[in-house]
């Protein structure tokens, strides 16, 4: 279920391409927040999320994006662009990490992917250092749990749970078939449920985790 009306989006895009600044402004205001939230939950960094939004709209301005209305709504297309930009960044980052690891003579495998078992693949092999992004404790806990999923599982969960997109739309955005969306979503939700359940049962353990994950937060507390 698209959050914005595809017909209006298309009309605004057409006007924007004719040079109408107000149409561009409208398009930006309609789409920036969902794209920012998607990128934020996907990468866990507010700065990167802002950069991704900027890159998307700069590409739109420079006519370097080839949007085909026959293939879906603009919103889904922009989510797909955001995902591609995020993947490019992650790829560049992982190259850098792998090279640094090799230079330091660390992990003999060097791929950071473990044994490649399905459970192992559910977990992000190179999790980013977590910064606290949300004030609300429960929400932050869910965000941290999301961050522990592998990126391709994180994509489908965020788009499905946070943006109310259908399987078909998610399949188009992630360039996978609907069956894969279903299985990834199912496995990712199961993993999340396990993480969150364990976290809520741990109680004091969660506080300890919090202290490990957010040392700067502890310093700020009285």
């Amino acid at each position: 279920m698209p959050l914005t009306d595809p017909t209006e989006d298309l009309a605004l895009l057409t006007e924007m391409r004719r040079g109408n600044a107000a149409a561009f402004e409208s398009l930006y205001r309609r789409h920036q927040a969902p794209l920012y939230r998607f990128a934020l939950l996907r990468c866990g960094s507010a700065d990167t999320a802002a950069d991704i939004v900027q890159e998307i709209f700069m590409a739109l301005i420079a006519h370097s994006l080839k949007f085909d209305p026959a293939r879906g709504a603009l919103q889904g297309f922009l989510f797909g662009v955001a995902r591609n930009f995020l993947l490019k960044r992650e790829e560049a980052q992982s190259r850098f990490v792998h090279r640094a690891t090799a230079d330091e003579g660390g992990d003999a495998r060097g791929d950071g992917r473990g044994d490649g078992s399905p459970e192992e693949m559910l977990v992000d092999p190179s999790p980013q250092p977590m910064q606290r992004l949300l004030d609300q404790e429960q929400a932050e806990r869910v965000r941290c749990a999301l961050q522990q999923l592998a990126p391709h599982y994180r994509d489908v969960v965020i788009l499905y749970e946070m943006h109310d997109l259908s399987y078909v739309e998610i399949a188009q955005i992630c360039d996978i078939d609907i069956g894969t969306v279903r299985s990834r979503l199912s496995r990712a939700r199961a993993r999340l449920a396990a993480l969150l359940q364990a976290d809520s049962h741990a109680g004091a353990g969660a506080v300890a985790t919090d202290q490990r994950n957010f040392p700067h937060q502890q310093e700020a507390r009285p």
């Binding site: 040079g19 600044a21 561009f24 402004e25 930006y28 205001r29 920036q32 927040a33 794209l35 920012y36 939230r37 934020l40 939950l41 999320a49 802002a50 939004v53 900027q54 709209f57 700069m58 301005i61 420079a62 399905p118 459970e119 559910l122 977990v123 949300l134 004030d135 609300q136 429960q138 929400a139 932050e140 806990r141 869910v142 965000r143 749990a145 522990q148 749970e161 946070m162 299985s183 979503l185 199912s186 496995r187 939700r189 199961a190 993993r191 999340l192 449920a193 396990a194 993480l195 969150l196 359940q197 364990a198 976290d199 809520s200 985790t209």
Partner: protein, 181 residues
């Protein structure tokens, strides 16, 4: 945090308790992130970039228009001159009548005669060529006479006569004929 996953969970079968836990947790995440948006200054940056891009696009458009404006009339003039010269210097050759050309059988009807119609041979070409003093005479011939030479004649007009030029031999034998309007 790395947790062992129960086999039922790896298949994605959630218990009702887990479903409600996920629902509540995602509800809180939605509430917490619902008001998040890109930094406010980003809009100003992008609007400025949009205006710069429009200025660049406009300049490119103006350059294209200028080229079209200045060069298109020249191209049009050159094309017109070229076409005129070609029409004058290389006129279309009119197809000449060739008695030996292999063409399909021509069926003449009595309604379509005109003056430059070629002669129709009534005798063999050898006989016509051997005739020492052929002459052309103008005659009025009954349409009915054409039927003898295989020309279709409508019954209503069978009694009319036609003007024709006849190539006849010295002793008056018809060798060839053509119709006059």
């Amino acid at each position: 945090m790395s947790l062992p996953i129960h086999p039922s969970l790896s298949r994605g079968n959630l218990t009702p308790a887990q479903e409600s836990l996920l629902k509540a947790d995602f509800g809180s995440l939605r509430a917490a992130t619902g008001s998040l948006a890109a930094p406010a200054q980003l809009e100003a940056t992008l609007m400025s970039a949009f205006k710069s891009q429009q200025a660049r696009d406009g300049a490119a458009r103006r350059r294209r228009n200028l080229i079209v404006q200045w060069f298109a009339p020249g191209f049009a003039l050159a094309a017109s001159v070229g076409m005129s010269a070609w029409m004058v210097l290389a006129p279309m050759a009119r197809p000449a009548f060739d008695a030996n050309a292999e063409s399909g059988p021509r069926v003449l009807t009595d309604a379509g005669m005109f003056a430059d119609t070629p002669f129709i041979a009534l005798q063999s070409l050898e006989q016509i060529a051997l005739e020492p003093r052929p002459r052309v005479i103008e005659a009025a011939i009954p349409r009915m006479w054409l039927a003898a030479y295989g020309v279709a004649v409508s019954p209503e007009l069978a009694g009319d006569s036609l003007r024709a030029e006849m190539l006849v031999s010295a002793n008056g034998q018809p060798l060839a004929m053509r119709f006059l309007p």
